[in-house]
Amino acid sequence: MSFESYDWSDIVPIEQDDGPEPLAQIAYDPEYSKAMGYFRAVAQKNEHSERALTLTEKIIEHNPAHYTIWHYRQQILLSLGKDLYEELDFIQKQVEQNPKNYQLWHHRQVIVENLKDCSLELSFTEEVLNDDSKNYHAWTYRTFNLWDNELSFVEKLIEKDIRNNSAWNQRYFAIFYNPTKPSEEFLKTEVEYGISKIKLAPNNISPWNYVKGVIAKSSMEITVLEELCKTYSQSDPISPHALGCLVDIYEDHVKRGLTDKKELGIKLQDISLNAFTDLL
């Protein structure tokens, strides 16, 4: 049943009072204004009913970012004991239209928490990420629960788009935010994995940052990347990330007393001269 088909004769809608000179007034759709008029009235009575539920649906159709309406809807759903799996379907349809709506993702989280069942969430976010593999909300949502097999999921996405920085970030998350601490041996294979991806596309910043991040968390030294950096700072075209990484390596050398500052200066000058002539 739609909100219009319910009997509202007992309710006197309350109009919005914007005063004589409002700022940033919006040309509301009459349907939205009407629904909001009823909302103001039933919300004051805190009415939890079927008709109020359809009312929230109508308002959400016009304004899915209306956080107050979502809050009201949650209260109604819970107090009427509605089937929350049906609500998940409703959310799914909404997310298809508004994949970047903060309120929707939060609402989903609230419903799942109440259901105490997150078994559908993996496929749900996977579907969203199939449409937009960099959707920040979907990735954030996945971090709330560390899923089994997250690495293989991430790997699939990296295979699909090696420049998907969100997937690289999730790879790091899945490893280092996992309650089980990764072994040194494992981290070594991760660095190798990253390097293999650098070799496929040396100008792609994502695996460079990832490899440096993993090394920083391990007992490895950043020097392990020196040869790789040298290769790609002399290649054609040169990789600016290789040059940047060389700077990191030499700075690290100074920090550890392996080289002095003067030598660092010469090395840096070398790098920038090489880079400069190569770019000409």
């Binding site: 009072d17 005063g19 940033a24 919006i26 909001m36 004051q44």
Partner: protein, 376 residues
């Protein structure tokens, strides 16, 4: 080195130069059409089309973008009468939820500003003291943009109820240090950390914030690439990086809060393609000319960017309607228009924008010299 900045100033390029026929062979570059952009902001301030319905609860931010844009372009006072400005100030104050007269505890969690009068109370420019509607509540982003707009309009903030705002903020900070926007239980992230810090700075009272927890949250949100995400473990993002850096500045904790200032600067600079992208390997977007640019400004490293590329990208996102869009060929909106103008302003030789509060230096000066919360 930056001699051409003057040339690219948005104030000197408002009239089209008809004598530039010597350059006909070069690609024709658009220049900033100041008058059209002023017209766009003025229209937004008065009436927005139905497409903005989805921003109904956030109208205060739309007002802020328009007012801040006109202020940066220096025309707020010349375009509008004082009477009009006073009426707008009244409208903003009408969105303030004040403590209940008889029992302040009754509504202490919802004090502050809401984004519009959607909850259904009668218009009252002295604010509302009877707000016990079950679904009425202030919102941190609205309180921040309301205070910023009041400063832009030259108000002295004398009708702002500071104690109730500071007190309500305490209920919005989470255990991990982050903030939610309203007490109605919404998502919490770096955006509202910034709002809380900016509000506290403007009110000159940080007692509503657990500062140590905020600094810890920001530290933990720094990613392995030294950009900053919306929360711990999340991907580095231009918007959240700005929110974190500006928050640390306002808290006077920049040195303590950034794990490596140099590496964060490097992450920021690396976001420039033509304009700036918000995340690695994403296309550039107008708003990051501000988010990334302002972050670099706070970290004293703005001069490392390529001004010309940034300018040219912004010109590609400016539209014939006077507004800016997110990307070339997209439809303009008021947020990206403000961000485009603010991004251009950062490149001007004579500074007009305070990068930390995201208001003009004139509005900031109003805070420091005229407002009732001015600092010693």
């Amino acid at each position: 080195m930056f001699s051409w900045i003057k040339e690219y100033s948005m104030f000197s390029w408002n009239k089209k130069d008809s004598s530039s026929s010597a350059n006909t062979q070069a690609e024709e570059l658009k220049t900033f059409d100041r008058d059209k952009t002023i017209g766009y902001f003025k229209r937004c301030l008065e009436f927005l089309p139905k497409q903005y319905e989805g921003n109904d609860t956030h109208r205060m931010t739309l007002a802020f973008y328009s007012l801040a844009g006109l202020d940066l372009l220096g025309v707020l006072e010349t375009e509008y009468t004082q009477e009009r400005i006073n009426n707008w100030i009244d409208w903003i104050y009408a969105q303030q939820i004040l403590p209940d007269e008889n029992n302040p505890e009754l509504n202490e969690r919802i004090c502050g500003f809401r984004g519009s009068p959607f909850s259904g109370l009668p218009y009252n420019p002295s604010g509302c003291r009877e707000s016990r509607l079950p679904f009425d509540a202030s919102n941190l982003a609205m309180t921040y943009t309301a205070l910023a707009s009041l400063l832009i309009l030259g108000d002295d903030l004398s009708r702002v109820d500071k104690p109730s705002i500071v007190n309500a903020m305490r209920y919005l900070q989470k255990e991990d240090g982050s903030f939610t926007q309203t007490y109605q239980g919404m998502e919490s992230d770096m955006r509202f950390v910034y709002c809380a810090c900016a509000i506290s700075y403007i009110l000159d009272d940080f007692s509503g914030i657990n500062v140590d927890k905020v600094v810890q949250y920001i530290k933990e949100s720094q990613s392995y690439d030294y950009g900053i995400g919306q929360g711990p473990g999340e991907e580095s993002h231009g918007g959240s990086t700005y929110c974190a850096i500006a928050s640390l500045y306002l808290l006077n904790k920049l040195d303590e809060g950034l794990l490596s200032k140099d590496k964060t600067i490097f992450w920021l600079i690396s976001r420039q393609e033509s304009g700036f992208q918000g995340r690695a390997n994403k296309p550039p977007d107008t708003c990051y000319s501000f988010w990334i640019g302002a972050s670099l400004m706070i970290l004293d490293s703005f001069e490392f960017i390529d001004y010309e590329k940034n300018y040219n990208f912004l010109m590609k996102t400016s539209t014939s309607l006077g507004g800016f869009s997110k990307c070339p060929g997209c439809y303009p909106d008021v947020m990206h228009t403000y961000m485009g103008v603010a991004g251009l302003s950062l490149m001007e030789e004579s500074k007009k924008l305070d990068s930390t509060l995201n208001i003009s230096l004139k509005a900031k000066e109003n805070l420091l010299s005229k407002s009732v919360f001015k600092r010693g």
